[in-house]
């Protein structure tokens, strides 16, 4: 009996910690983004609530919680309530497999990578439910569009993950981090894969240049139109939580996870503390990169978005997998061979893609040329 209670308490604590991480990460990121955008746009961000505006997100949460809980009369009540709750599930449940520090992972699933892919699909489900439950034609279309985008970009993400799995030889995230020991981060050996995975992950998050579902709210409703108050807050928080979680995954896969100098320095009850610091620092550097990218690139339209996924990223991802597999089969030491191949591929892609697109645009332009 006591065991059962203890088990329940432990599970509750774990879930609580996971949710806490997600919420705190979301709140911190909201402020991070607002101040970061402000700095880059030559203005101040929120800096009044609390010292340097730290409490701004808290204040916003209180505001959102205090709003009227409003649901359209024709909406499907159960699903309408369920959608915002479900949307967080992806971000929370993924933390089971992410190693925060040495030896400290919720559950060292030996199919960790596949688990991540599976769980991040929850967001798609929640968005679809949200759009459906709103009983609004435009919300449904917005949700469908968002779902189409996320599903399309999952494929290159998975293709990238598979190359990592191939390189490391295991699907477990712990092994992935271990394989990056000694400063041999996978990003140095698999830069092309990292690029594909990273772009796909930005689109997964509905972030940056791929945030068409958000902009739809301007004219045609996005999936979140009928949601107000805390229900909308959950969708909103999920976006920022997702930024952190996806950055954590990227850090784990490509940037050495919790590895860094002075790993074993501080130990508290079997848990090494310094790696947590490294992990969080790396994660937030990547989050900053996401904010920076959002600022610099105009929004892609829906046809550009889908075209980019299916006509560019997926063929590249497939080519990447096949070529990497070939390299691993034939090259005597995979790290050298892979590094050579991936760097060449990256430089070719970066160099040629822009040129090809320019050429394509000029062709389109000549067709509509106005003589004179």
């Amino acid at each position: 009996m006591a065991d059962l209670i203890l088990a329940i308490v432990r599970i509750a604590a774990a879930v609580g910690i996971a949710y806490a991480v997600v919420f705190v990460a979301a709140l911190v990121n909201i402020l991070f983004e607002r101040r970061g955008l402000a700095v880059m746009q030559d203005r101040l961000g929120p800096n009044r609530t609390g010292p340097q505006g730290i409490l701004q997100s808290v204040a916003d949460s209180f505001k959102m919680m205090g709003k009227e809980d409003f649901a359209p009369t024709a909406a499907d009540k159960v699903v309408f309530t369920l959608a915002p709750i479900l949307v967080m599930v992806g971000a929370v449940a993924v933390q089971v497999v992410i190693p925060y520090t040495s030896g400290c992972v919720g559950q060292d699933l030996n199919v960790g990578l596949i688990y991540i892919v599976a769980i991040t699909s929850f967001t798609v489900l929640a968005i679809l439910l949200g759009g459906w439950a709103s009983h609004n034609k435009y919300s449904l279309v917005g949700a469908l569009r968002s779902a189409a985008q996320m599903v399309s970009y999952e494929v290159p993400m998975i293709l990238g993950l598979l190359v990592v799995a191939m390189a490391v030889g295991s699907l477990s995230l712990n092994n992935v981090v271990d394989a990056q020991a000694g400063g041999r981060w996978l990003v140095f050996y698999l830069p092309f894969t990292f690029l594909i995975f990273y772009i796909a992950s930005i689109a997964e998050l509905n972030r940056g240049p791929f945030d068409l579902p958000e902009s739809e709210s301007e004219l045609v409703a996005g999936y979140g139109t009928e949601y107000s108050g805390m229900r909308f807050g959950m969708f909103f928080l999920n976006e920022y939580a997702g930024m952190t979680i996806m950055s954590m995954i990227t850090v784990t896969l490509f940037f050495g996870g919790w590895r860094g100098p002075w790993d074993g320095a501080v130990e508290v009850g079997g848990v090494y503390l310094v790696p947590i610091v490294w992990f969080l620092v790396k994660t937030h550097l990547l989050v900053f990169a996401l904010i920076w990218i959002r600022l610099s690139v105009p929004r892609l339209q829906v046809d550009q978005l889908m075209g980019f996924a299916w006509k560019v990223l997926i063929p590249l991802g497939l080519f990447n997998i096949m070529a990497s597999a070939a390299v691993m089969l034939w090259a005597p030491r995979w790290r050298i061979g892979m590094a050579v191949f991936q760097w060449i591929a990256l430089l070719l892609f970066v160099g040629l893609f822009d040129r090809l697109q320019r050429w394509n645009l000029e062709r389109r332009r000549q067709k509509v040329a106005v003589p004179g």
């Binding site: 955008l37 880059m40 746009q41 030559d42 203005r43 034609k137 279309v141 240049p209 068409l212 902009s215 301007e218 004219l219 045609v220 959002r294 600022l295 610099s296 690139v297 105009p298 929004r299 892609l300 339209q301 829906v302 046809d303 550009q304 822009d354 697109q357 320019r358 645009l361 000029e362 389109r364 332009r365 067709k367 509509v368 040329a369 106005v370 003589p371 004179g372």
Partner: protein
């Protein structure tokens, strides 16, 4: 049939759109997306809307995501300026002209003052002419900064920093104009025969210094978006205005020049001291959104050149011809006149009919945006909504002039 979002019956414009939808459906030209059960829906964009600049209302007929028809509805900013002119003396009317195209106030005042001077036979002083050119060109730079800034902001709301950088530098120009005229936006600076105040001490040096820095700043703006593949893809080939359209719809200004029509009133119908100045008329080739953007960017550079030359050539002398004393009344002889001048948005002018009294008998504005807006339905038809937003941003509408 009002949708659940509208509580009152559709007004004339909406009704027109709904009638057209019904007519096209009866004629069998319904929707392409039959499977999804979409018919053509009439959506009201504006008058308050983040993407339409100013209080412009667009009644958009959508088929899924394609724009089938656009009916612009204007008049939300109508302030009866033309009627006001009949009850105010010519001098009293100058601040009102300011408020037509408020982003290019100096140019608007010039358009009015020039016409009245022609009617009354007043010749402005030479120093005033140069000052006028300087002010007009500074205003052109500021106006283009707003136009381009808001245009790129449309492409990615708050997502690009360009609008902030442009506005930051616009502040510097507005500071200069404030020093000279006393106001940041509605200047009330031009007078018949010259300008109100002479340039304060040190103004010329400050202006010179800003103009020296400006080309680098303009390069900075360009560098932020020029090589951006996403930006290019959203701009190139969209919203093409043909030369036939330029003539048909009376399009002037950068919108016309982007289509390759060298219609620049500073060159085709020179006024003031422009014949003595050395600048190029920048043209585009294809008339698409990107060209309109590029022409405005290049025009900013040309304006910097012009201001530099004027500062060098600025003669000494009075800034007001004659001595206009209280009660500041002029009564031009009976007649009529229209002189257009090159506003940042196109040809702006006032057609004034004078009956010899001290009030204008009839004052009619030729507003560039009013004419440019007419091509909207043609331009936006067949494009997706996101393209429509980009195209309308590139046309640079200021509702103050459209509605007067």
């Amino acid at each position: 049939m009002p949708s659940r979002f509208e509580t009152e019956a559709p007004d004339a414009a909406m009704q027109l759109a709904l009638d057209r939808v019904r007519a096209s459906e009866e004629a069998g030209r319904g929707s392409d997306m039959q499977g999804l059960g979409f018919n053509q829906v009439v959506v009201n964009m504006g008058p308050q809307h983040p993407s339409t600049h100013g209080v412009l209302r667009l009644v958009v007929t959508l088929d899924g995501e394609l724009v089938k028809d656009v009916i612009p509805v204007i008049g939300y900013l109508h302030r009866c300026k033309e009627k006001l002119a009949e009850k105010r003396t010519y001098y009293q009317y100058i601040p009102i002209v300011d408020r037509t195209e408020y982003l290019a106030s100096m140019n608007c005042e010039w358009g009015y003052v020039m016409t009245v001077e022609k009617l009354a036979g007043i010749q402005p002083t030479r120093r005033a002419e140069f000052i006028r050119v300087i002010m007009a060109e500074l205003m052109r730079i500021a106006s283009h900064q707003v136009a381009l800034g808001t245009f790129t902001a449309d492409l990615a709301p708050l997502g690009t920093a360009l609008v902030f950088y442009m506005f930051r530098d616009r502040e510097k120009i507005l500071d200069l104009l404030e020093e000279a005229s006393g106001a940041r936006m509605m200047f009330n600076y031009f007078r018949f025969g010259g300008v109100r105040y002479d340039l304060p001490d040190g103004w010329v040096e400050k202006c010179r210094e800003l103009m020296a820095r400006m080309p680098r700043l303009i390069d900075e703006y360009e560098s932020l978006v020029k090589d951006n593949a996403v930006f290019l893809q959203r701009c190139i080939g969209k919203g093409v205005i043909t030369q036939q359209d330029v003539a048909d719809y009376g399009i002037t200004g950068p919108n016309a020049r982007a289509s390759g029509v060298p219609l620049d009133l500073r060159r085709t119908r020179p006024y003031s001291v422009y014949p003595e100045l050395d600048f190029d008329v920048r043209l585009g080739e294809h008339g698409d959104v990107y060209d309109r953007y590029q022409v405005r960017m290049d025009e900013m550079r040309e304006s910097v050149r012009i201001v530099g030359q004027c500062l060098d050539m600025l003669p000494a002398g009075p800034v007001q011809a004659g001595t206009l004393r209280a009660p500041y009344v002029i009564a031009p002889p009976p007649g009529e006149c229209y002189i257009g001048q090159e506003n940042p948005r196109g040809e702006y002018g006032t057609y004034i009919v004078s009956d010899g009294s001290r009030y204008p008998y009839r004052l009619k504005y030729r507003d560039p945006c009013f004419c440019n807006l007419q091509i909207f339905p043609k331009l936006l038809r067949g494009n997706k909504i996101a393209d429509a937003v980009a195209i309308s941003g590139s046309m640079d509408m200021v509702l103050g002039g459209i509605d007067r």
